[in-house]
Symmetry: C2
């Protein structure tokens, strides 16, 4: 965005540095849809009803460079993903997301239309993945680095939270959502949509086969199975978490928290099993259930919980040794894009 | 921080880029003190008890450059201020802060000790300003620009929230907390602690008189009167907000939200009245009360609410025209520090 020709070239789409915060907020709020809060956006803080008597809360940040690139993500994609990854953290507790607070730090040269389309993406994700959840507050500030920090709040609706620590020997291990698509999509982006200097270039979907398109979409605009979080809790899930860093790393975390060994059958992970084990960002739900309970539709069994052995994680009955949670964004020179 | 000599010079204080996220989290959590949450840090999300049935929630972001400079703020200062400004938003609703979620985006070259001292500052602010409030969740990520986004949650303990929109003609206008100190402190920093090229240099407090030291402290480590938010609500405050952008801009916002005119007597703002009107970042509490009600100790009367006239704000009976909310950070070339 440093090569941006400046406001003269876009008189109908001003830079946020040339718009008052009030104007900018008004154009965002108009796009966010109805509020369900007792006090919604516009005061010092939002006030939300939590009849359950408990609130579930999580925050996650997306930073331009390590976490996304504007050459690849549209503003809508970025808004959608910012919401989706946070909704997944709430769902992973067995809760239903009810509100988002969105802190957006923008370079001055960002266009007003960017912010509007970002807001559309937030609303789109809430509407498709977590109906009833809305943006109820936020913050706008200036930064050299485009940064989105989203706080998601949710309700357990009377359920007990499903922690990482509740898995017991004999439980089945089940997964809902994508397995490897987002990591494969990131690989496609890195291999196919960078120029000779390594700088990201826009994605041309017509150069991709349908499987590649699906994977790139899973990376740029993930759609985690949010409603399956509460469904898993209702079905008796003993432990659950959101798979953000790949099955290997996240199943190891669940195993460590529960003091068990998790044994994964890689064939059950499907065609992209390698990406599913080592990659990340699918934001599926990894859960354990007592043996014999009917799983909510959308979950499939991928392994078993065993008494703790030396290794916390077995893949196809072998202790797992790998580059768990590989993140090419991190290994990539920040200067190239 | 770009001139940092790198890890070899600090073998006992590694770069965060060389520490695993798990290690870093462990060292932070060890410093944050006891959790009051049903589920505290370490799972996908925190679960907090909210017996009131409503939760108050706000987010605010501090970005290196526009909002703070590490040449001036110690890591402890930054942690303290990040908490304090968010606690003030909760207090301004008449609520008691109960939890913080802290999203921290750090350059790889940041030292581990920085993060520890930042955590100490968060804990210090909670302990001094809002006992019972603790960090219950967060997120660590990598960024070229050091960014702190804090979400504060709070409880009304059965009170009604105090909005900006409730002021009525005849009410008194009262202020608690600093008036102008933070803006005066920022002026001292800009005038006295930059080198010939405009780059910030460390603050030498021994070169300042006690009044200047107090103002610099109010800027770098503000201590808003958090407990007076609920006290004002209990005393019958009709409207309230946190003064982040100066009395002129924030009183205008309150007047607009309430469809009234606010008349401020600048003499009541004390010795730094000019800074109080035009400056910002004091994070005091501006509240209106029905005439005749005893104000909670710590509030002083600074004006009256009148029926809406042409101007939303009068200062010393004249419609206010000024550079409301001047922010020298924003006007300052980002390249110089």
């Amino acid at each position: 965005m440093t090569d941006d020709p400046g406001p003269a070239a876009h008189d109908d789409d001003p830079r946020v540095g040339d718009i008052s915060e009030r104007q900018l907020l008004r154009s965002i709020l108009a796009r966010l849809g109805p509020t369900a809060a007792l006090v919604g956006p516009g005061d010092d803080a939002a006030v939300l009803a939590v009849p359950d008597g408990r609130v579930v809360a999580s925050v996650d940040t997306l930073v331009h460079g390590p976490d996304f690139r504007l050459a690849w993500s549209t503003p809508y994609d970025l808004g959608y993903k910012s919401a989706a990854v946070n909704l997944a953290d709430i769902a992973a507790m067995g809760a239903r997301p009810t509100a988002l607070l969105v802190a957006l730090a923008l370079p001055n040269e960002t266009r007003g239309s960017f912010v509007e389309q970002f807001a559309d993406g937030l609303r789109g994700a809430c509407g498709e993945l977590a109906p009833g959840c809305a943006v109820e507050g936020g913050d706008l500030t200036v930064s050299d680095t485009l940064t989105v920090a989203v706080t998601a709040l949710g309700t357990l609706d009377g359920r007990e939270p499903v922690l990482r620590s509740g898995a017991g020997p004999g439980d089945v291990v089940a997964l809902a959502g994508e397995a490897g698509a987002a990591a494969r999509g990131l690989d496609v982006l890195f291999r196919r949509f960078r120029d000779a200097a390594g700088v990201p270039v826009p994605v041309r979907r017509d150069e991709l086969d349908p499987g590649e398109v699906a994977c790139v979409t899973a990376q740029l605009r993930p759609a985690p199975p949010i409603a399956l979080g509460p469904a898993a809790a209702d079905a008796g899930a003993t432990a659950m978490m959101d798979v953000s860093d790949g099955i290997a790393l996240d199943a190891t975390r669940l195993a460590e928290a529960s003091a068990v060994t998790v044994a994964v059958d890689s064939a059950a992970l499907g065609a992209r099993r390698g990406w599913a084990v080592d990659g990340g960002e699918d934001h599926g739900l990894l859960a354990t259930f007592p043996p014999g309970v009917p799983l909510p539709p959308g979950f499939r069994i991928i392994g078993q919980v065993r008494a703790r052995a030396d290794a916390p994680l077995l893949v196809d009955d072998e202790p797992y040794v790998g580059r768990a949670g590989w993140d090419p964004y991190r290994d990539w020179d920040a200067a190239t894009g």
